[in-house]
Amino acid sequence: MNGLATALFTLLRRDLILALRRRQDALVVLGFFVVVVSLFPLGVGPDPQLLRSMAPGVLWVSALLATMLSLERLFSDDFRDGSLEQILLAPQPLSLMVMSKILAHWLITGLPLVLISPLLGMQLNLDGTEILTLMAALLLGTPILSLVGAIGAALTLGLRGGGVLISLLILPLYVPALVLGAGAVDAVMYGSSAQAHLSLMAALLILTLLLAPWAIAAALRIMSD
């Protein structure tokens, strides 16, 4: 039991150290998020009311795209340098080891999106409670994006053009998170409570936490044997 905790923690620490050494990877994802959100006003015009009503959708779709961008490297670096093989051979259950990697991925790419979202929300004229709801929804939703996205990353491991393929495989599966996340902010905007959306999002997170690690572990075994 103790060995398991050590292994999980070591893997998490290793991924975080690697990310700190190569900061640009995480920063590029964050920069992409900011740039995409900033392009929308240029495309649809600066009308504050229009921007405000579009804001939840714009922020969520941009968050989905930014997450997609980071997924390709989730397993591919480890696959190339052989450390994925070591993880597969380790006596610890693969589905738990995978959770460690996904937690690291979320800390590196998901959490920064949550933290910078208030700034972008203000740019798009959201007010205080709406921004808080947006953050709560992103906080619950970005782990879902990492978990489901990891299935796609594992299934396209070692394939040519894997990055483009991931988006075709995974974006349809992101629909529930998008609907609930943007819906939560919409609900607050139209004067009702976001509680239902956030509860359902939390339920979805729990369901994904339960099922995704098995699928990821199975996909990794298939694609790396």
Binding site: L155, L169, P172, L173, P176, V179, G183, D186, L211, I222
Partner: protein, 249 residues
Amino acid sequence: MAEQRVQWFKFASPPNFYDLAGRLAPWFGGLAAILFVVGLYVGFVLAPPDYQQGNSYRIMFIHVPTAWMSMFLYVLMAVYAAIGLIWRVKTAEVMAKAIAPTGALFTFLALWTGALWGKPTWGTYWVWDARLTSELILLFLYLGYMALHAAIEDRQRAANASAILALAGVVNVPIIYFSVVWWNTLHQGASITVTSAPTMETVMFSALMLMTFACWMYAIAVVLWRARLELLERERRAAWVLERMGEKA
């Protein structure tokens, strides 16, 4: 009881499946052709015009069966994929792969006929109605499955990987459907309901049933044919393939 089981497993072996599918597929194909002709005759000639929609409702006889098939086939594909993944049944893997293009075709037809039906009834080709939207996402799921299958060169690995994708998709389909329904009611208020159709006449109902069976027969015939070809390609070095190909050459 035990004997019956042996009978079933017999057809899971590629050569037996190949022979059986070859014998059955033409029958299903012929049945599909007859049912299509009869169904279209009943639907387009015998059935009276609708008192509200006139003649435009007749596209329902194509639209509704294809929409049903698109959903059934996805579930069926996931079931075959699961059987292939869990029990390593090669014919099940082949069947899952063979179903995908037919399912995508039906999904596309359902969307296309839905758009054509929408123009005269709702005045627009496309509305972001919950059913249309989830059907569109279903099409993306089919395309993703086929793209992943095509991207992996090793056939065994392709079958296993896309089986996982099909299973992830089938878990998600109800969640997607309900989230889209909810999204729709939230954004559009009361939207067009396709469900509250007036009670159907017997002629219309029988045309619909005939067309549904025709679609089933067509799907079975085409899937069996495609599965046979896929088996030949996968097993091209196996003795049974050489034996059968040698006979024909």
